[in-house]
């Protein structure tokens, strides 16, 4: 394993310090915790949005702390959900009189730790609601399983619910809009190779030179199947197909898309994917209101990408395009 680190124990701590030094105008550290909060928080009268999860997905989630998005991000160990006491620290640090919305990606660990934190907050009479993001179409959605994973589509939740909170909407309204985003967002991902979790020291899986993993998760957990690599156009067509099969989009409807790099894929390749994605949607007479492209929800140094699509109505469109100013997302 080759990594530019000092020690596996100090990775998260040192990374958080580095983020604060890079973006002091946006974020500061809640002393003694792995929480980064918006500099001017808590903001009275505004619902506070808190998200988080394992580290290794940068810029998620700390990169989205700032005006119009998150009020705090809680960083767990690499690919491990943060503990309840840390989430609770975040709630106490940014929670206002308007209440707190927790944006949780659907992994049992994240859900359990955030729920325990919400229970702690309730004991102190802090109003907390949650939304669980489950946008990944690669995994089966059934009542018998944990359900779908939350992946890059989470960025749409941060952006849109963040904008709603910034407008001063109530906790109930912000939660409702966040749920609407979840209901209308789908993601499909693939990878060309594994990543190495520093504490483990070995790649998370192996792929032959000409093989890809289709539908894998953002922690390097296996996907739906392995297959021979094909062209960017073919991959894009297949992945968009999976999304549309799951969430039909009619002619004339409008969408937002994210072409998300998993950490080691150059923008060059993401642009090639985006070119095909746009032409496929145009052929179907689906309008693209917004395209986000780059590294939003990564998996350490994994090569690969995901496509997320959100179906937009007027309300979602307005909030998606509302002003935001965070280290990793700006809408001017």
């Amino acid at each position: 394993m080759k990594k530019i680190i000092n020690s596996t124990e100090e990775i998260v701590n040192e990374m958080l310090d580095g983020i604060v030094k890079a973006h002091p105008e946006h974020v500061k550290r809640v002393e003694g915790t792995s929480v980064l909060k918006r500099v001017n928080s808590p903001i009275q009268g505004k619902v506070a949005l808190i998200s988080g999860g394992g580290s290794g997905h940068e810029p998620s989630h700390a990169g989205f702390v700032g005006k119009g998005m998150l009020d705090a991000a809680v960083a767990g160990e690499v690919f491990t959900s943060p503990t309840p006491d840390q989430v609770f620290e975040a709630i106490k640090a940014v929670g206002s009189d308007a209440g707190v919305l927790l944006v949780i990606k659907n992994y049992s660990g994240d859900v359990m730790n955030f729920e325990m934190a919400a229970e702690m907050a309730e004991m102190e009479d802090i109003k907390v609601e949650k939304v669980i993001v489950n946008d990944d179409v690669a995994v089966e959605n059934s009542t018998y399983t944990t359900g779908r994973r939350g992946v890059a589509g989470t960025i749409f939740v941060h952006k849109i619910a963040g904008a709603a909170a910034e407008e001063g909407r109530s906790l109930e309204e912000v939660q409702k809009i966040a749920q609407k985003v979840v209901d209308n967002t789908r993601t499909m991902g693939m990878s060309l190779g594994a990543c190495t979790v520093p504490a483990v020291g070995k790649p998370s899986f192996t792929l032959a030179e000409d093989e890809i993993e289709m539908g894998l998760g953002i922690h390097g957990e296996p996907g739906t199947h392995k297959e021979k690599i094909s062209s960017a156009d073919e991959l894009t067509e297949y992945m968009l197909g999976k999304i549309i099969q799951d969430m039909p989009i009619e002619k004339g409807e409008e969408v937002g898309v994210i072409v998300n790099g998993l950490g080691a894929t150059p923008l060059m390749e993401l642009y090639i994917v985006n070119r095909k994605l746009h032409s496929l949607l145009e052929e179907k007479e689906i309008k693209i209101n917004k395209t986000l492209i780059g590294n939003y929800m990564t998996s350490l140094e994994m090569p690969g990408f995901s496509i997320s699509v959100i179906k937009l109505d007027e309300e979602l469109k307005g909030l998606l395009n509302a002003k935001a100013d965070t280290p990793a997302f700006k809408e001017i």
């Binding site: 503990t83 309840p84 660990g109 359990m112 504490a199």
Partner: protein, 209 residues
């Protein structure tokens, strides 16, 4: 009977065995999860070991509660809340006992299982730690009811736990990250059931030594 000295020895040895099996647990988790179960558990139990020094004169409730809070605040992932809840529930039924007998262990098993079910919204057959713990509890309880002593009942529990772990290889995961794999999770041993087995085996080894 388990007295305080033996109890602390059990906890200390559980921590050692979890740390010793860190790589095994990571490797099992690599096949169906995200390969951090061993690292997370080892981190938590290393912290538990540090706390044990200060708990020598505490009652069972305080010891178990301290272990619970330590695991909850250091493990993360799904194992932190699940094992944390398990120890927290255990702390609630032992009060200020001087020694623990078989009936206390039955009570502990019962609240631990209830707590894990509630926290993880899971049950036997979902390919989780419960597939190890529930059979162990059932074997322990029926041994005690048929008049066996703590040593023999613990052996029976360990045997059932071993079979439970084997059973997880044959079923599909319905909870946790492994559930994302669907049928592809069949054939792999559940890491959570394995760490629970390490705990149950350690208890049996020490009471039988």
């Amino acid at each position: 009977m388990i007295d305080k000295t033996m109890f602390l020895e059990i906890i200390n040895k559980i921590a050692d065995n979890i740390i010793l099996n860190k790589d095994l647990l990571n490797e099992l988790d690599m096949a169906i999860g995200d390969s951090d179960h061993g690292s997370n558990m080892a981190r938590g139990f290393s912290e538990v070991k540090k706390k044990l020094e200060t708990l020598k004169d505490s009652d069972y409730q305080t010891i178990l509660k301290t272990i619970a809070m330590t695991l909850i605040s250091t493990v993360g992932g799904a194992s932190g809340p699940l094992y944390g809840t398990a120890f927290l529930k255990a702390s609630s039924v032992v009060g200020d006992r001087e020694v623990l007998d078989s009936n206390d262990l039955i009570k502990i098993y019962e609240v631990v299982i209830d707590g894990i079910k509630q926290r993880g919204k899971s049950d036997k057959g979902d390919k989780t730690m419960l597939d190890c713990i529930i059979p162990a509890y059932e074997a322990f309880k029926s041994s005690v009811e048929s008049g066996k002593d703590l040593k023999e009942a613990s052996k029976q529990a360990e045997q059932a736990a071993t079979e439970g772990v084997e059973y997880t290889k044959t079923i599909k995961a319905l909870k946790g990250r492994a559930s994302f794999l669907g049928d592809r999770s069949i054939g792999h041993q559940d890491p959570g059931a394995t760490s629970s087995h390490i705990i149950i085996k350690t208890i049996s080894d020490i009471v039988n030594n």
